[in-house]
Symmetry: C2
Subunit: 567 residues, 2 copies
């Protein structure tokens, strides 16, 4: 697969095979590994300034995607939560553009299939390498679409997202090469000649994969599906959230450049931008050509996809109700500090942020004695207050609220119950237009077990509930009920009792959920590491898949066997 001026797939394999092998080892051991440095300075002198300049150069202009069939109309939909003027126009994808685009995308599939699992992995790793080289630019794009604070946009939107993408490439490769390319099958027939059959096995993509991006983590949540689908031989159509187009548009443009250079069709990757309200996701998701879907967002639309996009394998990450069971601790201050950080990070706008803190009404035991429910809640509020007392640090941790709905929830939280910690308005010195709010903690009575209690619904944003329960046993019952009815991306528990720890584990085994126990240091329940932690379990209503495992990639391709009698 060569072009006059391009890189051959063989060259890309030479370049990236060691990284692929290292990634394959990482997913086998799940020990710490990353090829993507977390520290901004690791990207070289002037990289931050260059990234910022590249981002600024995109603002106010048209984002061209040379060669992609387009409608001719343009649409600019992004609004920076920091108030920065974006005004970037993207080709608007209407029904006519879709009709033109899908066959063109399919046209590239045979050559992409022939590249084989290793060739496709190498192309994907080249795309990731070029994304990595532009991490500072991506950081700006993520910051000004999601509202994440600068450092988080850099890390979560950059190296961590790239890790998740590479992890998906590794799983995709491993899954495809589990079946050999050829088998010489020879079946004994007693005294007669054996039966001899030559069998060739080819991994083939399903067709067009649709990635429906989200507003809060466009790259982190988008890269796994994007790279898993591409690496398994599909074309990928990217439909970003209208308010977070740029990070995925950059991804698409880089992917198209690499594909062309390696001799493949650029339209194996394409962008479908829309105006807010166009609703093209529903149309795209049910097109017969679309065979794989990845989606992160609301439960309502996730369930709509699962129900209606029957022609596709649908991967969804929806909403859940994340729970912390607080039974006892031997590091009270460490627990409070850890929880305070988790509640504050990105203003609780992570799908992994704890929402319900289940605390026995009679209080808990700690290394410094018994603490009543009210005391625990007050101390947690104080810990949050201390963490965010300094505006500079508050801004660095909280980021900005992503939209008006989240602000609305913060402002109306007091209607749900007694406010233990009110939200505070924080001014942002650089971006006065940013809506920055500290988390609110509301006390709720969980002993009445009301079916319409606020803690049984997701309340996305910096609102958490200190739920008083009758006992740890009742907390575990409520946890089990919540997992079954609403699901959770994360469960966390604090206990000094091995027996309680075992019981929490049992609940998380029964309705599969990922559990963190007694986190007190610099590891937080809302963070998961690529190559090591599973993000979600895929076994409860919050998500039907996990990042990343064999199941996340195995449905994206099929193995076609061609058999012939041996000559």
């Amino acid at each position: 697969m060569t072009t006059g001026t391009g890189t051959t797939t063989a060259q890309l394999i030479d370049k990236h095979r060691p990284t692929l092998d290292r990634a394959l080892e990482a997913i086998r051991t799940r020990e710490f590994w990353t090829p993507h440095p977390e520290h901004p300075k690791a990207y070289g002198e002037g990289a931050a300034e260059e990234g910022k300049a590249a981002f600024d150069a995109l603002r106010g202009g048209r984002f061209e995607l040379p060669g992609q069939p387009v409608s001719g109309a343009w649409v600019a939909t992004e609004v920076s939560p920091y108030g920065l003027e974006m005004d970037i126009s993207y080709p608007r994808t209407d029904e006519g553009a879709i009709d033109a685009l899908l066959p063109v995308m399919r046209g590239g599939l045979p050559a992409w299939r022939k590249a084989g699992p290793e060739g496709r992995a190498a192309v994907c790793l080249e795309i990731l390498a070029r994304i990595s080289a532009r991490t500072h630019e991506f950081a700006q794009a993520v910051m000004h679409t999601s509202g994440q604070a600068s450092m988080m946009a850099f890390q979560a939107g950059g190296p961590h997202a790239q890790d998740r993408g590479m992890e998906a490439v590794a799983y995709a490769y491993a899954e495809q090469v589990r079946t050999p390319e050829r088998a010489d099958w020879e079946k004994p027939q007693g005294k007669r000649e054996p039966l001899r059959v030559v069998k060739e096995f080819t991994a083939v993509g399903r067709g067009i994969a649709l990635l429906i991006g989200c507003n809060t983590f466009p790259t982190w949540n988008g890269f796994p599906g994007f790279f898993a689908s591409l690496a398994t031989g599909n074309a990928v159509l990217v439909k970003p959230h209208p308010r977070a187009v740029l990070p995925l548009a950059l991804t698409v443009r880089i992917a198209r450049e690499v594909l062309i250079e390696a001799g493949f069709a650029a339209d194996l990757v394409a962008l479908a931008a829309e105006a807010e309200g166009d609703g093209i996701a529903k149309d795209l998701a049910t097109r017969p050509e679309v065979r794989v879907i990845d989606y992160t967002g609301s439960s309502a639309f996730g369930e709509w996809l699962e129900t209606n996009a029957r022609q596709a394998r649908v991967h969804t990450e929806k909403a859940g109700v994340n729970t912390v069971v607080i039974d006892s601790t031997d590091d009270y201050a460490g627990m409070l500090a850890n929880l305070a950080f988790s509640l504050s990070l990105y203003s609780g706008q992570m799908c992994t942020t704890p929402q319900n803190l289940l605390i026995p009404a009679a209080g808990i035991s700690t290394e410094s004695g018994h603490k009543g429910y009210d005391e625990v809640v007050a101390d947690l509020g104080a810990a949050v207050g201390k963490l965010l007392g300094d505006d500079a640090r508050a801004n660095a941790l909280l980021g900005a609220l992503v939209n008006e709905q989240v602000r609305g929830r913060v402002e109306t939280a007091s209607a749900l119950g007694e406010v233990a910690l009110p939200s505070r308005v924080v001014e942002h010195p650089e971006f006065p237009g940013a809506t920055v709010r500290t988390p609110v903690i509301v006390k709720l009575d969980g002993t009445k077990q009301e079916e319409d209690a606020p803690y049984l619904e997701e309340c996305f944003g910096p609102v958490s509930f200190a739920v008083a329960v009758g006992s740890t046993e009742e907390a575990l019952e409520l946890l089990g009920h919540t997992l079954l009815a609403r699901g959770a991306m994360t469960v966390s528990a604090y206990t000094t009792s091995p027996e309680v720890a075992r019981q929490v584990e049992e609940v998380c085994f029964s309705e599969p959920a990922q559990l963190s126990l007694n986190l007190t240091g610099g590891v937080y329940v809302n963070q998961t590491a690529g190559f090591s932690d599973f993000h979600g379990s895929g076994g409860n209503p919050a998500a039907n898949c996990t990042l990343c495992d064999g199941d996340f990639v195995s449905g994206r391709f099929r193995v076609v066997e061609v058999r012939r009698m041996a000559q």
Copy 2:
């Protein structure tokens, strides 16, 4: 995991680990391997008589399942296609019995989870070993429920089905151990102490798996899902087809015996028998406790399950339209003999039997010159006639028609087009009540491309269509259209042209389907071998999964991670 008198899981692991390792190697190389002999005599002196006697002892009696919660009512629904009196009664599962059964089944899950992937695999292999030892009894059970001829019931219902079951155990084991049980994660923090987290990973079943059995291949189509679900930590509820209960009831009873002996709850495996028309499958399939479903049968109910059983991972094998493209051959007699056998085996009642033979109206080239369409069809008819001319051989190949619907299709086939080969009634010397029919071949004009043409629908049974097409190119177009609209479990092609072979492959890559090229000897398109051939592709409407691959097992369990700060 021990009981006073039982076998420990450790002993079962010692016993079966070498077989598991060999099976793991087989699915990696996909070379020929089977631990289950095909020849009836390999099962020992007197085994056939003992198996027959055991089967006869079951007839006319109640099939007890000691310990399983039951309703108290009994139901006898089986009718041997050979006319043999069955009259075996099974516990009838009504709604009350289901309500009682499901919680009891779930009760066994925690201990089953703790057995771990290796322990569960060993228990599954012990169940298979005991089934294997009773292969002759299973052969009788399969013969007198499916109507398969004696030798086929023995081989397909016995060793081949056991191969498919073991293959599923191997995939299930491999999938679960891809993630280590533990990882010590250590993330450098510059000059500070590294972050250290201990992560434990546990494979947990989804809950209760439902197996909905079919009439024609109760074990061969049932064992993969049964063992895949059990080996991944689920409880398995078996809902057999009312007319093919015994093979799966025996399986359930053997599994319960092994589970008890190994110290697990017998109700991890249970039987749900019903009267024809009870329709409990719909009720069971949508119970919240049911998280995995395996189904083989009609497209209508398969699609119902996919649409409605949203709480479960649904694996379906439905109906397709299997196609043979006949372009040219250098072994005309070999081609005809091979096709004649494939059309005749089990009276075409296999989901893999070819239905549409696409033949250019202008004829084909062969090593003995050009053959016109009429000549090819006539010669194929003659080959079938020759193969089945002897009644003893006809009975040995055809078996009996499984039900009245199939007989109806044979008898009304002449209404669809010109009959090239009429069906013949064959008397069965041992079972005069058996309905035995030779295949009918109907000529159809495929050049008009009518959307309601008979060849665009599955016509299950010994009815095939010799479809005249304008050219090989048109045949490939029709193949592609058929794969997209109806799907296929098998595609076959005869051609001496490498270019045509490549084009057929391309069609099968584009809408994934399994392809056999130029089969002329003792390998037939309707047969697939465990550990080597994929059964179906899972990528077209005929089935959403394949036997067997990683995707067939990966959704049956989740990996739950429990992480703690390292001490």
